[in-house]
């Protein structure tokens, strides 16, 4: 599938490959210039959901951060100081647990920065802890509320970064993707009905609302807007509604991999002639592990996931070799990216500050804001006002300046989905799901 972006795919990927190789060399160069080996370790705290409903992600966040830390230490750490990650389990629970965990990492472990993927909190639990301690916080909560909070008081929240775009990009992105499929003649929906199934959290609801609000502009009529409760043991009532009025497209924004897998297991007992889009959760190995053959044909997208180009594939191979065949580079790549970006920014700033050393940490924050870092999940470039990453292609049409909102389709239960959009990162094309009538 090609998007309206005039870029030579091969040439672009060749160019960015050089950038990635250069980032490690840059850090190594800065380290040798510093001549400060065997220094005190730099503690990086990671409050992550390593048990509970989204443990499948949390365990990968831990792995990704550990892998990056090992790579950084292999080239001399940050200006000679080894990086020492410390992990605290937030149990897939809310703000209270995330705040306690973050505070503990600062007070007990003396963390210079907190780096995580996401937690099941309201989206800004870490922000005040980070602001009070004057350190750097990096997360992939993927929430618009981060942008609003940072813009409301930039002088307080100077140190907290969302290294991916906010969730609202999902809604618009999906509708644009569907339109592109239709324009290219790859997909004609059986009807113009769109069924939206969301979870109870703000994140899922915001994506669902964005979809609902924009659906009419793309010619879709929302035939079902259903909110499920967590955990979903039986999808019976929801599936009964879908079967009683089959939509052309089903979009599930409730993102838990295990719940999405059970949905597919139960949906495939009697599938409707509908395209099935599962937001984010299906990108995890756990989804394919649980859904098995029922996962084939599913479409998913993520605004931060491992690309299938030279850099992304090299990372994914190394990641799986270290953590096993079922490991998910899509989520491990998140903390991996943030850790590397932080290390470069800290080295460029002359080293990280400890908690309450605000002046030094402000220098690190400034370097992060100026950094354009090409990682296995695409380019991380921070917007100066919101301190979130630019989204490609929704916010910039230059793939070298934004993190891509990637769409993938599962074609083999034993492999990651094939990346089908956007250009120039696509490596395959859309195929009609096996349960749909062509």
């Amino acid at each position: 599938m090609s998007q309206n972006v005039k870029t030579s795919r091969r040439g672009f990927l060749r160019g960015t490959g050089g950038v990635a190789a250069g980032s490690a060399a840059m850090l190594a160069g800065l380290n040798s210039a510093a001549q400060a080996q065997s220094g005190e370790p730099i503690v990086i705290g990671c409050p992550a959901p390593m048990t509970g409903a989204v443990a499948a992600d949390g365990l990968e966040f831990r792995n990704g951060l550990q892998m990056a830390a090992d790579e950084i230490n292999a080239v001399g750490g940050i200006l000679g100081h080894p990086v020492q990650p410390v992990f605290v389990d937030t149990e897939s629970r809310g703000d209270d647990i995330v705040i306690q965990a973050s505070q503990r990492l600062i007070d007990r472990d003396n963390a210079s920065a907190l780096i995580t993927g996401y937690n099941l909190e309201t989206g800004t639990a870490m922000h005040d802890v980070v602001a009070d301690a004057g350190i750097i916080g990096m997360h992939a909560m993927t929430v618009a509320v981060h942008d609003e909070l940072v813009m409301s008081d930039p002088d307080r929240y100077w140190g907290i970064f969302q290294y991916d775009p906010p969730e609202t990009m999902y809604g618009t992105g999906l509708l644009q993707f569907l339109k592109q499929l239709e324009d290219d003649g790859q997909f004609t929906p059986p009807n113009r009905k769109l069924a939206i199934v969301t979870g109870p959290g703000t994140y899922s609801v915001n994506i669902a609302n964005a979809l609902r609000d924009d659906a009419a502009d793309f010619g879709y009529e929302v035939s079902l807007y259903e909110t499920v409760v967590v955990p979903v043991t039986d999808w019976g009532p929801t599936l009964a509604k879908l079967r009683s009025d089959p939509p052309g497209v089903i979009a599930v924004t409730h993102f838990y991999a295990s719940d999405q897998a059970q949905l597919m297991n139960q949906f495939m007992n009697n599938p409707t002639n509908s395209l099935m889009y599962l937001q984010y959760g299906a990108s995890l190995g756990a989804f394919r592990d649980i859904a098995g053959d029922n996962s084939v044909g599913v479409l998913y997208s993520t605004v931060i996931g491992a690309l299938q180009d030279e850099i992304g594939t090299a990372f994914a191979d190394a990641y799986r070799e270290r953590f096993g065949a079922t490991a998910s580079p899509n989520s491990g790549g998140q903390t991996y990216t943030a850790m590397h970006a932080y290390a470069i920014a800290a080295a460029l700033a002359g080293g990280p500050g400890e908690p309450y050393e605000e002046d030094q940490n402000r220098l690190v924050a400034d370097r992060l804001k100026q950094l354009i870092y090409r990682s296995p999940v695409g380019t991380m470039r921070i917007k100066p006002d919101t301190q979130s990453a630019f989204a490609y292609p929704t916010e910039t049409n230059d793939p070298s300046l934004g993190m891509p909102h990637i769409f993938s389709q599962i074609k083999d239960k034993d492999r990651d989905g094939v990346l089908i959009a956007p250009a120039p990162y696509d490596v395959g094309s859309f195929e009609m799901p096996p349960w749909m009538e062509s």
Binding site: M50, T51, G52, A53, A55, A56, G58, L59, S92, P200, E226, T227, V228, V229, P231, V232, T233, D234, G236, P237, T238, L239, A240, K241, R243, S244, A257, S258, A261, Q262, Q266, N269, N270, A286, D289, I290, G292
Partner: protein, 292 residues
């Protein structure tokens, strides 16, 4: 016509799992006067042990059910021998045992986490295939869940109503001191009840894990639902717990379809409040008359 059938299928499947969980919980409360906060973990352990054995040895469904029952019973027995029996004669048993079993649940969850990690595993035991009722496709696993629940609950009912063992349990539940004076070994009865309730919990965990996924926290939600069912039925009323489990599950499924899935559990909670106002002793409970 398909919609009522779908509601019935969902309600009976969920009701079966709720019933297995609630009947055991109610049995313990009725006999020992104890709310077992670790009941959810009894379910979890049953599911994980089956998962481990089935992954390495391969188990048919009937074997898996037996393993889950034995595991649950063993956990129940150990809980009684190592914790509950020391608290039974103490003051404030009802309160103390809630705290003790809550602590036990946390400990068991942490041990499960240490052993298996947080990865959401798929239960390896299960029956594949479907059949149709009208236009509704029903999975064979749903039928298995219903049959297993019916057999287990039927066996418990037979034990309680038709055997000497059951008579001892009922006598102990009615009046512990009177039963002891009549020669019933109440300590043995307590042990047997914990084993029986544990066995039911183990099977409940196995059945839940066949339609959901395994996680150390998987017992939390069923425990909450089982507690709601027990309150509506009348705490300690085993027969009522079984009936209410199916009734409430059908209600939840119907509300889920007609009003939205998110309203199912809140509706159950509203019902609890209504029952506690209207009949504090529960729908099937009897009022206690205190003569002064």
């Amino acid at each position: 016509m398909d919609i009522p059938i779908q509601i019935l299928v969902t309600g009976l499947t969920m009701g079966s799992m709720y019933a297995l969980a609630a009947v055991g919980l109610s049995l313990i409360f009725g006999t020992l006067g104890m709310f077992n906060m670790a009941h959810g973990m009894f379910m979890t352990v049953g599911a994980y042990v089956v998962f481990s054995l089935a992954s390495s040895l391969g188990l048919p469904m009937i074997g898996a059910v037996l393993v889950a029952m034995l595991t649950g019973a063993l956990v129940g027995i150990l809980t009684h021998l190592l914790i509950v029996r020391f608290m039974l004669t103490g003051t404030d048993f009802t309160t103390n045992v809630i705290v003790a079993t809550a602590g036990l649940a946390i400990l068991m969850e942490d041990v499960t986490l240490k052993m298996f990690g947080g990865y959401p595993y798929q239960q390896t035991v299960g029956v594949s295939g479907t059949f149709r009722i009208g236009g509704v496709v029903v999975s064979l696993q749903s039928l298995v869940i219903l049959v297993v629940a019916m057999v287990c609950i039927g066996a418990v009912a037979w034990l309680l109503l038709k055997t000497r063992f059951g008579r001892a349990i009922r006598a102990t539940a009615m009046n512990r001191d009177a039963a002891r004076l009549m020669g019933v070994r109440t300590n043995t009865v307590f042990l047997q009840v914990m084993a029986l309730a544990g066995a039911l919990a183990g099977v409940a965990g196995l059945m839940i894990s066949t339609v959901a996924t395994l996680s150390p926290q998987m017992g939390g939600d069923p425990l909450l639902k089982a507690f709601v069912i027990c309150v509506v039925a009348g705490l300690g009323n085993v027969w009522g717990a079984g009936v209410c489990a199916f009734g409430l599950a059908l209600l939840e499924a119907a509300i889920g379809f007609y009003f939205g899935v998110r309203f199912g559990f809140p509706a159950m909670l509203i019902l609890v409040i209504a029952v506690l106002i209207w009949r504090p002793q529960g729908l099937f409970g009897k009022e206690k008359v205190v003569r002064l």
